[in-house]
């Protein structure tokens, strides 16, 4: 349970840390935490398929995606472009949104979950955490101008959805796991590839410069 609360903290840091390499490291820590949660689930539910899930998550989110992110961040520009809102205001807005979401899922958990084995703790906290991270990810997507921060936001959204996937339906098949994980890695890689090309063409990773096409 403390692990999942730590995940909210790491998401905040990943969004707010201006030094992009630091943000990527924070994301990596969070992904390792996710893999740890999956392992704990596997142990408490006696479901060996979840160990497999945990290994896949560690490989893709803990190693591959951060490696890709770092590779491109170092190549391009390691400091974030000024976001749209000032830091303190941005933190207050984000925090309020997260609290509301967390509280709603926490109190409505019984209506969302059907399997009796998945009711109660730690699933309740974890699902609420997943919802909170989802909101943080969307918040990053909407307010950040730096393309890398936007990609990190997308990664947070994906993490949140995978956490909710395991909290709601742990008995997922291997083919689906491989498919979902491959999709995530490829989409991050393609996005970074395009961002690097944008940087080469325009000399910036500020998404405000990407407004030639309008109307």
């Amino acid at each position: 349970m403390y692990i999942s609360l730590l995940m909210i903290v790491t998401s905040f840091i990943a969004v707010e840390w201006r030094q992009l390499t630091g943000a990527v490291y924070t994301y990596q820590v969070q992904s390792v935490l996710i893999a740890l949660i999956f392992t704990i689930y596997a142990h408490s539910l006696h479901n060996p398929a979840l160990y497999y899930w945990a290994a896949m998550a560690l490989l893709s989110k803990g190693i591959l995606v951060p490696w890709l992110l770092r590779h491109y961040v170092v190549k391009v520009h390691p400091v974030e472009t000024e976001p749209m809102l000032s830091t303190s205001l941005s933190q207050i807005c984000g925090f309020a949104l997260v609290m509301v979401t967390f509280w709603w899922v926490f109190t409505h958990h019984a209506q969302l979950v059907i399997l009796p084995s998945l009711a109660g703790e730690p699933f309740r906290t974890n699902l609420a955490v997943a919802a909170a991270i989802l909101v943080i990810g969307f918040y990053a997507l909407l307010t950040r101008r730096n393309a890398f921060k936007v990609v990190i936001g997308l990664c947070l959204v994906e993490n949140a959805i995978h956490l909710s996937l395991v909290s709601l339906a742990p008995s997922i098949a291997e083919t689906a796991i491989i498919g979902v994980v491959t999709d995530v890695v490829i989409s991050v890689w393609l996005l970074l590839y395009i961002v690097a090309n944008v940087y080469r063409a325009t000399g910036s990773t500020d998404t405000f410069n990407l407004q030639k096409l309008r109307g």
Binding site: L112, I114, L154, Q211
Partner: protein
């Protein structure tokens, strides 16, 4: 051929062709593109065989229920593979011409064909997928396969379009995954384990789901896959991606990728209509907003491809409204309009590609100052009339079914918006057609009607080989002065299109006309598809 090989072949044949295309393309550059066309032809053949097999109703299963096809799958697979084939055939002379003009190096041709084949493969795979999580994986895979096609030219604008496309669709579809997960987890207690991932199994137990779960799951699926289908307000990627990608890719994106996402919604969300009329109403409202917004924005576009893209946003609105009405007629209109829009809009995008080929621009005003082949004009107007729903053509019948369904459901506001949008569509498309093809040279249009593309087969073949250089230089040189409207003798030096390009457009225009002729087999195929949807709604 057994059932399972047919279903698996449908997506593995183009995937295999992609591998061949990529690996052989380096050693044998003269084969580049031909393998692609062969692969796309084989896929169309398989899709037709599949539809024929399903023509007596029922469904086919493979891989222990993971793959499943009914008439709706067959119909969408035929549309996907056919538009894919048309785009491949069109791309062959078109891209070679661009290589000659120096827009990109010839080595990248094989990347284009290989990616296109992967793109077709992912789309056909969606049509036969019965696993709800894999459905998400494949719809996301269509985005991934096409993202590099959108950025193919590598210009800053194309990169911007690709970035928006990839980001918005990935985030949107992530919500779709959340919806799929919610629905799957709800089905686990009733079906158990891995079987609960099969859409056909979920349909059987859908009525037992708790209301909040069914509603939240359905909404997330509609919004998530809807962002890929270009629903307002998630459409921002659509006009950019459509206008910046190579024209054959625009045709595929608009013609079939949007339809594949709609297909996923039709497969999953309609299951929950009976218990939750709010979902249906949600779709009708989304459809009404999309159709009106799309056409109003299309009205003041200055770029032909952007205008067509916004018109696609509007036409998708009709399909989703038809799906939301959830009656026989509504579904009939939706499935029929899905087919019609795929044919009409991909034809119109190929027309815009031909215009770009000849004039080097897609700006409506600049195109209006030049002279164009009248055969192309006829095709453009057939497409424009068809998509606006002018009576004898296919678009009219599908829209008519949707109007009638809206009236039957006593949703008069929806009926009014749909009718009003249709009138606006006529105005927008005819205005554009008039500006491009008729304005200023309407007097000269009559005498040269019959043979604008006469004997241009040779350049088509030449364009493929080395002779293209001379040919391209020749008309690049006389283009600027010869085509200015107030010059004598311009009819002699009309721009000539490769035979292949015009043939594809003419054949598609022919299909647009044919599909409007209330043909028995077409009606039967649509009827079976609608029955499949209704059957699924009634609990599979």
């Amino acid at each position: 051929m057994t059932e399972s090989t047919l279903l698996i072949g449908l997506f593995s044949v183009p995937a295999l062709a992609a591998v061949l295309e990529y690996s052989l393309g380096r050693k044998l550059p003269e084969l580049t593109g031909k393998i692609g066309i062969a692969g796309a032809t084989a896929t169309s053949g398989l899709a037709l065989a599949l539809l024929r097999k399903l023509f007596t109703g029922g469904s086919l299963d493979a891989l222990d229920g993971q793959l499943r096809a009914d008439a709706l799958s067959g119909l969408v697979a035929v549309v996907v593979s056919f538009v894919g084939l048309a785009a491949m055939l069109f791309a062959y002379p078109y891209l070679r011409h661009e290589v000659v003009k120096g827009k990109f190096p010839a080595e990248r041709l094989r990347n284009y064909y290989a990616l296109s084949l992967v793109f077709i493969s992912t789309m056909t795979a969606v049509t036969v997928m019965n696993n709800i999580i894999m459905m998400y994986v494949l719809v996301e895979a269509t985005t991934l396969a096409s993202a590099l096609l959108v950025t193919f030219y590598g210009t800053p604008e194309a990169l911007e379009a690709g970035y928006k496309y990839l980001l918005l669709c990935s985030v949107g579809i992530a919500l779709g995954l959340l919806g799929c997960v919610v629905l799957y987890s709800a089905a686990v207690p009733f079906v158990g384990g891995i079987k609960a991932m099969e859409i056909s199994e979920i349909a059987k137990v859908a009525h037992q789901f708790p209301p909040l779960v069914a509603l939240a799951g359905g909404m997330l699926v509609i919004i998530g896959f809807g962002s890929k289908a270009g629903f307002v307000p998630f459409h921002a990627w659509l006009p950019d991606a459509h206008s910046q990608s190579p024209s054959p890719v625009s045709a595929m994106l608009s013609g079939v990728t949007l339809k594949v996402a709609i297909y996923a919604i039709a497969r999953i969300a309609t299951i929950f209509y009976p218990g939750h009329s709010a979902l249906g109403l949600f779709c009708v409202i989304l459809g009404a907003v999309a159709m009106l917004f799309g056409i109003l924005v299309a009205f003041h576009q200055t770029d032909l491809k952007r205008m067509l893209a916004y018109s696609s946003v509007s036409q998708i609105g009709y399909i989703i409204m038809g799906l939301g009405l959830s009656s026989y007629l509504g579904f009939y209109g939706a499935v029929y309009h899905l087919l019609n829009h795929a044919l009409d809009k991909s034809m119109l995008f190929l027309c815009s590609g031909a215009l770009l080929y000849a004039c080097g621009t897609t700006s409506i005003a600049e195109l209006g100052r030049k002279k164009h082949s009248s055969l192309l004009a006829v095709c453009f107007f057939i497409g424009a009339f068809a998509i606006s729903g002018v009576p004898p053509l296919n678009g009219f019948w599908s829209k008519f079914a949707i109007y009638t369904a809206a009236a039957q459901a006593h949703l008069w506001w929806a009926f009014g918006i749909a009718l009003f949008t249709s009138l606006l569509t006529v105005a927008v498309l005819i205005r554009v057609g008039y500006t491009i093809f008729l304005q200023e040279n309407e007097h000269e249009e009559e005498p040269v009607a019959p043979a604008p593309v006469r004997a241009e087969t040779a350049p088509a073949l030449a364009a493929a080989g080395g002779g293209a250089q001379a040919f391209a230089q020749q008309w690049d040189e006389f283009l600027p002065d010869a085509l200015s409207p107030n010059r004598e003798g311009e009819t002699e030096v009309r721009v000539s299109y490769p035979f292949g390009m015009i043939a594809v457009i003419v054949v598609m225009a022919g299909l647009v006309i044919v599909s409007g002729l209330n043909l028995g087999f077409l009606h039967h195929a649509i009827d079976l598809s609608v029955q499949a949807l209704l059957h699924q709604m009634a609990g599979g």
